[in-house]
């Protein structure tokens, strides 16, 4: 009898593992979000205000994490608070390891309001309903929701970033490397593909960047089906290198495994989230990174200075903050001089200038053609239609950018030159 019981228990364990194998990190599948410029930075807060102001945060994982999604946000909030002369030890109240369950999020909000939080950040997509509801209940508190799409006119907004712009720059580095090595196959280990606009726009941005220097390059996307899965992140990268003969490996997943796999195989790679050069010094080119503190700085400052919580959305210039290269919210990590091809820095600098100045953006009917000679890059614009990988036209030649709402919420196609592996 005990043996049967033991077997049943083992089986139950095994099945429960299968059930939760889906990934532990929440991320974005944002809906429509209108663009908003960054808030004009208000006059710096008076010290009295800054000393009394309390920031609340709800995290999906532990505040003690040393890497990953929650860590990036925690780091961003504490950095921003220090910049503003606040003390995170006394002025930051946190409820962490809150699952995406409405009741539990509401309970966390009650706790934070009870502790006197003036602004509450929720970092996970699934907190959306609870935050929208609480914003109506606690009108004297500001609610700010990462990766979401809901907002009101007073004290509730959402925020996210134009990671695709940073991806485009990383794509330039990858494309130049592919020209140098003569290998046109580029791999991309992605948490998901067209299922989420976040991953999809990242892949497309990267691919367009690659093609701006190497029109013959192909990007092969291999999907994990999970936000974090170290074992397979490594295995998938190796598979792309071995079977698809990829010479550069890009990634949209948590760990540096794809970069390490690239290094072991003697090929190159572009990381994500943080500078992965220390993880793979002989392989890593550059990484698309987030500077969350840029938003947190803006938002905390606005909340402190807007007088009443109900003025927050007005002070932020709208209910949706969608910062990019211009705001410094996303960027590429410093180039790894040991690996990048000649002229990469110059090419990236010029394109970055085009995007920051508002002259040009990635998903438009204008394409960039970049050529490098003697370490100097020449960037030329050309009116060309944006076409998906089935040949359907997305933006006509010379046409305006795809709407922000599509980029954050509903992009579900790959551009030309992208294939699933």
């Amino acid at each position: 009898m005990k043996k049967i019981l033991a077997m049943v228990m083992a089986m139950a364990m095994v099945l429960s593992l299968a059930a939760c194998g889906g990934g532990d990190k929440s991320s974005a599948s944002a809906g429509s979000a209108a663009s908003a410029g960054s808030a004009g930075s208000a006059a710096s807060a008076s010290t009295a205000d800054a000393a009394e102001f309390k920031v609340g945060a709800i995290y999906i994982n532990s505040k003690n994490d040393t890497a990953g999604y929650t860590f990036a946000h925690h780091n961003g909030i504490t950095t921003a608070m220090k910049e503003l002369g606040m003390d995170p030890a006394t002025q930051l109240v946190i409820v962490d390891e809150v699952p995406e369950d409405k009741e539990q999020v509401l309970a966390a909000i009650d706790t934070l309001v009870g502790e006197g939080a003036n602004i509450i950040f929720g970092i996970s997509f699934g907190y959306i309903d609870a935050m929208a509801e609480a914003a109506e209940e606690y009108t004297d508190v500001v609610f700010s929701h990462a990766t979401g799409y809901m907002s009101n006119d007073t004290n509730f907004n959402n925020y996210f970033g134009r990671a695709y712009q940073a991806r485009y720059l990383a794509g330039i580095a990858a494309g130049l490397k592919s020209l140098e090595t003569g290998n046109n196959n580029i791999g991309y280990v992605a948490a998901y593909g067209t299922e989420y606009a976040e991953t999809c726009s990242g892949i497309n941005g990267f691919a367009l960047g690659v093609q701006s220097v190497n029109p013959d390059a192909k990007v092969y996307v291999k999907k994990l089906g999970a936000w974090g899965d170290e074992v397979n992140e490594s295995a998938f990268a190796k598979e792309l290198i071995d079977s698809y003969n990829c010479g550069v490996i890009s990634q949209h997943c948590d760990s540096a495994q794809p970069q390490i796999a690239a290094q072991d195989a003697g090929v190159f790679g572009c990381g994500y989230n943080s500078d992965m050069t220390p993880d793979a010094p002989n392989a890593h080119l550059t990484a698309a990174i987030w500077n969350w503190n840029v938003y947190y700085h803006t938002a905390i400052e606005a909340a402190m200075n807007c007088g009443d919580a109900s003025n927050f959305v007005t002070a932020m210039g709208g209910g949706a903050y969608y910062g990019g290269l211009k705001e410094g919210f996303v960027d590429v990590s410093p180039l790894n001089e040991a690996t990048v091809a000649a002229g990469t820095q110059d090419a990236i600098d010029q394109v970055k200038e085009l995007i920051v100045s508002g002259d040009w953006d990635v998903f438009t009917g204008v394409k960039l053609h970049i050529t490098v000679a003697d370490g100097a890059a020449t960037v030329e614009k050309a009116d060309e239609a944006l076409v998906d990988n089935t040949g359907a036209e997305i933006v006509a030649a010379g046409g305006p950018s795809v709407e922000d709402g599509v980029i954050t919420g509903s992009m579900n196609y790959y551009v030309e030159g992208v294939e699933e592996a």
């Binding site: 019981l5 033991a6 228990m9 083992a10 089986m11 095994v14 074992v231 079977s243």
Partner: protein, 332 residues
């Protein structure tokens, strides 16, 4: 794109071995433990403990051998804990095993996260370990097309796993202590009556088996290049090993086969789409299966194996008759 068909198949076979060897260590270790009559459900946790300590101490001494030894030692220490609780203190084996899993993963994250912030060793800095884990082609055999690189060009810990499995088969079936061990697992009362020290046999073999599991954890740490990113290196291997024991019918040599059969399905997730692209005519359908199915596949197969083997008749089963029962001498 034009795929190199032979290359894809070779990579597939190679990967089946590379990614599933921890299962072999875990399964063989668990067989040794179960043959002594103890059902240890703590494999996952024990592998995690072996992984983290083996990796860190192996790096600090810059020696793979020390790493393997350390992993074995820490695995064995977990085994000592398990034996002390279940053999000496008569605690329930299922609960103790599950506790060990929780405990082991806790230690893993505690040590890993704690060290990560201050001084996490990067495998690249330790040439002896990096080179020690590099693939080692067996002369002659590795020249055979497909299976040459697939089966005979691996790191030394892969060969070690197979050697350990065969050695354990020989030990269990061809030596006197092995015979006595099986007697303890079948009927500890009878074994005791002929003068076998049941307690000692249980202690020693629980520690031996758990040590082997620990090495499996260390393998995974090296296979992940020691990059610690707060998801677990072990990733469910321990649980699958518990089920593979039944699939292998408590035979360490059969466990090798079981590992590869199971590994085949496990590795489809990685290589399925490459196979589909390389053989669009015959295997193209593999690409149409959603990732989530591949994700669940190993566990579904495990469940099927468990059901199938428990329905099978007891005849010829290697299941130790006293498995899961504590031996209390005074009740004899």
């Amino acid at each position: 794109m034009e795929m190199n068909q032979l290359g894809v198949v070779t990579t597939f076979v190679h990967n089946i071995v590379v990614y599933n060897i921890p299962l072999l260590y875990g399964t063989v270790g668990e067989i040794v433990v179960e043959k002594s009559g103890s059902l240890n459900l703590g494999v996952e946790g024990i592998m995690a403990v072996g992984a983290i300590f083996g990796y860190i101490i192996g790096c600090y001494t810059n020696s793979m051998a020390v790493g393997i030894l350390t992993a074995f030692l820490f695995g064995a220490l977990c085994g000592l804990l398990f034996a002390a609780l279940t053999v000496s203190l008569q605690a329930n084996q299922n609960i103790t095993g599950l506790t060990l899993t929780t405990f082991g993963l806790g230690v893993y994250f505690f040590v890993g996260n704690g060290l990560k912030a201050v001084a996490w060793p990067a495998m690249n800095d330790y040439a002896n370990i990096k080179n020690g884990f590099a693939d080692l082609a067996i002369p002659g055999l590795s020249q055979i097309p497909v299976i040459g690189r697939g089966l005979f060009s691996h790191n030394v810990m892969v060969y070690l796993a197979v050697a350990v499995a065969l050695a354990m088969w020989w030990y269990l079936n061809r030596t006197t202590p092995g015979l006595r061990l099986r007697a303890v697992g079948e009927n500890p009362g009878a074994a005791d009556s002929v003068g076998i020290n049941v307690k000692r046999y249980k202690y020693v073999h629980t520690m031996l088996g758990c040590g082997i599991m620990g090495i499996g954890g260390y393998y995974m740490a090296l296979n992940m290049s020691g990059s610690f990113n707060s998801t677990c290196w072990i990733n469910g291997y321990g649980w699958i090993a518990v089920a593979l024991v039944i699939f292998a019918n408590w035979n360490p040599a059969l466990a090798i086969l079981g590992t590869f059969v199971f590994g085949f399905f496990n590795t489809l997730r990685v290589s399925g789409s490459s196979l589909a692209a390389a053989f669009p005519g015959t295997l193209g359908w593999l690409a149409a299966i959603p990732t989530q199915v591949y994700q669940a596949l190993p566990f579904v197969i495990t469940a099927v194996v468990l059901v199938a083997t428990s329905v099978r008749k007891r005849e010829g089963s290697g299941l130790p008759a006293s498995l899961g029962l504590n031996y209390f001498r005074e009740e004899r």
